[in-house]
Each structure stands twice: as structure tokens, then as C-alpha cells.
């Protein structure tokens, strides 16, 4: 029991907290659902679909995706130098298959935000992230983009404020090994569940772009007002 006495920690209480935290990370909206309650019906189906890889094909696709991230070259400040270090020979990111750093966001699927994001740069980061195709992941490398870092002032924005981040790697700058640990954590997360409830977590249902089947070239511009 949590009787409030200092130094007494109730292991059951701890477990509930941890479960809540992991549910949070997995995209549970705690307002809408009772923490720990079982979803039912179509809710259950959707829950299972999003979180549990039922088919071998899904698992295979997730395995392939996780082993071939294409990081976008997005070095902002000091962390960029340590990010360059993971490409270098000592901590070789090519061992894991991630050496293909792509300059164009259209061809990249992992955004390693390395460095401090200033208010002038934030809209540009957001635009680059938007230009990436799904599935996409983001690692916030370093203290400055995870929280405000060493500098807590008018000109910085933590990355969580304007874009979804999957893994935060602390450090100033994080050692290349630490960044590698973060990337491998992401790899594990993707292997288990590539979608990671992304759209629920950021309330983005309904933002999918659907290409209508039958007779229409996917490359044609889809007018916003619905006019054919």
C-alpha cells in the first residue's frame, strides 16, 4: 500500500505507473480509455491490428524496414559532428545497414535531429519532416532538441513541440555509442510495431492522402476543393 511513508515504495504501484507510461508511448489516449481496461469489439480489433503483428508478412516487412533506415542528413549543430562520427569507422553505422544517408527527405525515412532547433529553423524542420514519406521515424539527438538542453532561452524550441519524436537520445553531445544505442532502440521498436500508433498519438487520423483507384494517374494533382 502506498501509505505515504517516505522510503516505502509499493511494487504494485510501480507496476501500474510503468504500464501507464508504456501505454502512453504506445499511443493510448488516457482520457478516452480507462487505463488497463480491455478494449472490446471493433475497438479491440483495431487495437490488435495496430499493435500486434499477426502475420508473418507483417513481421517480415517490419524486420526489413528496421534494418534499412535511410537517415536524412540533418545536422544542425554540435551533435551533427557526433552524428558524422557514427558514420565514421569506429562506430560504424553501416554494420547495421544505416549508412545510406539521403539528402532528399523524399528518399529518407529517419530524421535524426542533431543539434539545437531555433525558432527560425523549426518551420523548416517541420516542412522537411512533412516531406518525408511514411513510414517515418524521428530521433531527437542531444539535449537541445529533446528538452531545451544547456540553453533555456528565447530562441530554442524542443522538437516535441512541433513534430512527433520516437526516441530521445540524451547527451551534450551524446557519444556516438549513445546515439547508436538510440538508433538500435528504434530498430527494436520498429521490429515490434512499425506504426507505433503514430496517427493516434498525434491525433492525425484523417490526414491520410488517398489516391483514388481506377483511371487516375497517381501523379496528378489532387485539387484541394474536390473539383475533379
Amino acid at each position: 500500500m502506498n501509505d505515504g511513508s517516505p522510503g516505502h515504495i509499493d511494487p504494485q504501484g510501480l507496476r501500474v505507473t510503468r504500464q501507464n507510461a508504456s501505454q502512453l508511448l504506445r499511443g493510448h489516449e488516457l482520457e478516452g480509455r480507462n487505463p488497463g481496461a480491455d478494449p472490446e469489439g471493433t475497438d479491440l480489433e483495431r487495437f490488435v491490428e495496430e499493435r500486434v503483428l499477426t502475420t508473418t508478412l507483417d513481421r517480415a516487412v517490419a524486420w526489413a524496414r528496421s534494418n534499412s533506415f535511410f537517415p536524412a542528413t540533418f545536422g544542425l549543430a554540435c551533435c551533427a559532428i557526433e552524428m558524422m562520427s557514427i558514420v565514421a569507422a569506429r562506430v560504424d553505422v553501416a554494420r547495421f545497414g544505416y549508412e545510406a544517408f539521403r539528402a532528399s527527405p523524399r528518399q529518407a525515412d529517419l530524421l535524426i535531429l542533431s543539434g539545437r532547433v531555433s525558432i527560425k529553423m523549426a518551420p523548416i524542420v517541420r516542412r522537411i519532416y512533412d516531406q518525408m514519406l511514411e513510414p517515418k521515424w524521428a530521433i531527437s539527438m542531444g539535449a537541445c532538441c529533446s528538452s531545451m538542453g544547456v540553453f533555456n532561452n528565447y530562441s530554442l524550441v524542443p522538437a516535441e513541440k512541433f513534430m512527433p519524436v520516437d526516441v530521445h537520445v540524451p547527451g551534450c553531445p551524446p557519444r556516438p555509442e549513445a546515439l547508436m544505442h538510440g538508433v538500435l532502440k528504434l530498430r527494436k521498436m520498429v521490429q515490434d510495431d512499425p506504426d507505433m500508433g503514430w496517427r493516434d498519438r498525434y491525433d492525425a487520423r484523417g490526414t491520410e492522402e488517398v489516391v483514388q483507384a481506377g483511371g487516375r494517374d497517381a501523379a496528378e494533382n489532387v485539387p484541394l476543393d474536390g473539383a475533379s
Binding site: C78, M84, A89, R90
Partner: protein, 423 residues
Amino acid sequence: MSEANGQQLSDYRRREQSITLSPIEEQIGEGQDDTREEVLTLNFGPHHPATHGVLRLLVTLKGELVQEIKPIVGYVHTGIEKTAEDKSYWKVIPVIERMDYLAYHFNAYAYCGAVETLLEIEVPRRAQYLRVIHLELTRIMSHLVWLGTSALDLGAISMFWYCFREREKILDLFEYSTGARMHTRYLQIGGVVEDVPPGYATKLSGFLDEMPERLAQYGALLNNNEIFLQRLRGTCSLDASTLLSLGVTGPLLRAAGVPWDLRKAEPKCSYEDFSFKVPVGTVGDNYDRYAVRMAEMGESVKIIRQALDGLPEGPHITTDRKVALPPRHELATSMEALIHHFKLVTEGFRVPPGEVYFPVEGPRGEYGCFVRSDGSSKPVRVHMRDPSFVNLQAFTHMARGDYIADMIATLAMLDPILGGIDR
């Protein structure tokens, strides 16, 4: 189709619909008297494949010839100078270090030198020599990163791995003596934070033994490389008087033939004890800038060798307990030491009021730190005159009239560090 909606088609949509797949009748430039030349403004956005940070360039082009370059900076502005006003003097050091993130010891040195001038304290000789060792190692490391990323920009991709291999050795040395790879907070006000551990001299000596050979290997790869010569020789040169009027310092100025190096002109921190040469170029083109930096790495190795061989005994930080923390073993026995420790850790030391500008020679040029104090324990104004910020003004003068590819090579040879530019 859109007129039916009552909306007018935008100009863009009209032009888009007018595109047909019929063969183009009139080629560009072949028209009767079609001598219009279009001037194109291209945005090299803040996110670009060149690994030089978030620099945005608005390049006005005539064909492929550059007419004008307008750099737009500020995408990594961190308000470091404002943050520094909020912290006590020794807490500013880690913040200031993160300005030019490849020359962190130089940032710290400029700041510590300014505060030491205000405090009028003497830095012990051993601390000065240790500072010189770390400063020159930082210079070599900065030039290695420059070489690796510039060669990457120009297409010599394997140089990246070689240079970062040496850089890892230098970072190992930093980790050995200071505990951190980057942003080490090693330079403190009054000296250095702690003495070098046993075994450091051997490790450093081993590094110094193999470094000249590596530099020779890099030279052998690149110096007479046909592509390197064609990309760099004779491109984007700028004469010395224009560079001086633009405030350019550092290897860019020395490549144009001006032998100005603050380590020789205004030696601080016992640089006058070491004998080294200052490499100076002749023509001032991109190849000279490259050659000057390569030679500087060799000279830095010599300086470190002399500093290591002549390392004097003595304290590693000033003995003035009002400024520097007392050694921990004293805290158990001396009450005064405890009081000093407490005062320094909570409030920090107070600096007499005044303003001072302290310039040092860093890998990119003159780093000058301006510190104003009003007698309290926090600085009122800390400003860093960053060389990349001032050198960037010369970029448009350098690249005017040359091709875009030369502009990229010049940007690589300019060695801008956006952390320093934007602070």
C-alpha cells in the same frame, strides 16, 4: 472546367495546363534575336547536402555563373550570449564552448582570457602549456573535420573516413585528460580544470609520432590529385586588400599572402616559447587555402611536441582561492578552503567592473571575446567575435563570376561553422 466553379484558374494552373507533350518548336537561345538572358535566383536552402550546417544561400545565377550570393544565417541562433548573462562566470564556460562547436577550447580560451584580464590574475606556466596542448589538438581536430567534409563535398569520399579516424584518436586524448570528447570544459578561469593523468604523455607522444606520417599520406592522396587541382587551383581567389577590408582573418587571409597570425603577433599563453612557422599562401585561390590548412596541421604537431617536452612543473590552476576551487583534500583540513569552496560553488567569484576584448587565433581566424562586468558575479555582456561570421562576408566577393561548382568548393574552403556564425 474551373470557370464553371466561378473561380478563375490561377496563373500557375493555366501554365500547367498549357504544357503539352508535343515536341518543342523553339529551343532556348535559338530564337531570332532572343538575347534575353534570364537571371535566376536559386535558394540553397538551410537543409542541403553540403555538410556545413544550416547555411542558406540566395544565389543569383546567370546560366551557371554566380552573380551574387546572399547568405542568410540565423537558423541555429541559440542566444548563447544572452544565456551567458544569466549564469555566474564559471558556468558561462560550458555555454560559451558550444558556440563554434569544432573549436571549443578556443571559445573557452577567449572567454577565460578575457575574464582573467579583468581579474588580473596570473595563469601558472604549467596551465599555459596544458592549454596550448589542448588548443593545438583542437586546431588539428578542426582542420581534420574540415578536410574530411570538404573532400566529401568535392567527391573524395574516402578522406572522410581517414580524417575521422585521426579525429577519434584526438578525441580519445581529450577523453583521457578531460573526461569528455567534445565540449570538455577543460579550460577554466585561472588555468585548467585538472592536471593530466599519468600515461597521458606517452599516449600523446604516440599520437604525435604517427600524425606527420598520416598528414603526408593525406597530402599524397590529394595534393597532386588531378580532380582536386582542377577544382581548386585558380578558382575564386581574392586579393589581400579586399580580404583585409572585409575583416577576414585566419587561414583565408594567410592564403592570400598576409602573414598575420595572432600566435606570433600577440602571443598569449606562452606561445612565444614555441618555435613554429606560419604557412602563407601566394595566390589566394582555393588550393592555397587548402594547402595552408594542411601545413598548419603539421605546425601544430610541432607545437604540441615542444609543449609536451617542455611541460613545466607547478600548479595547473591559479592558486588564488577566491577564483579557483581549492583541491579536495584541503577541504577536510582547512576551514578557509571550505569557505572558499562554498562561496565559489554557490555565488561564484565577483569580477571588478570593466570591459575587455580578448582576441586569440583559432582555426578559422580571430576569436575575440568581449566581456563586460559590473562588479557582480554574473557577466553583464559576453560577446564572441566569431571569425566565420566575418569571413562569410567575403564569400560573395570570392565566388562572383565563377561557376556554381566553384562556389561549392569555395564554401568548403571557407570553412564556415554555423554555430559560430549564429551563436
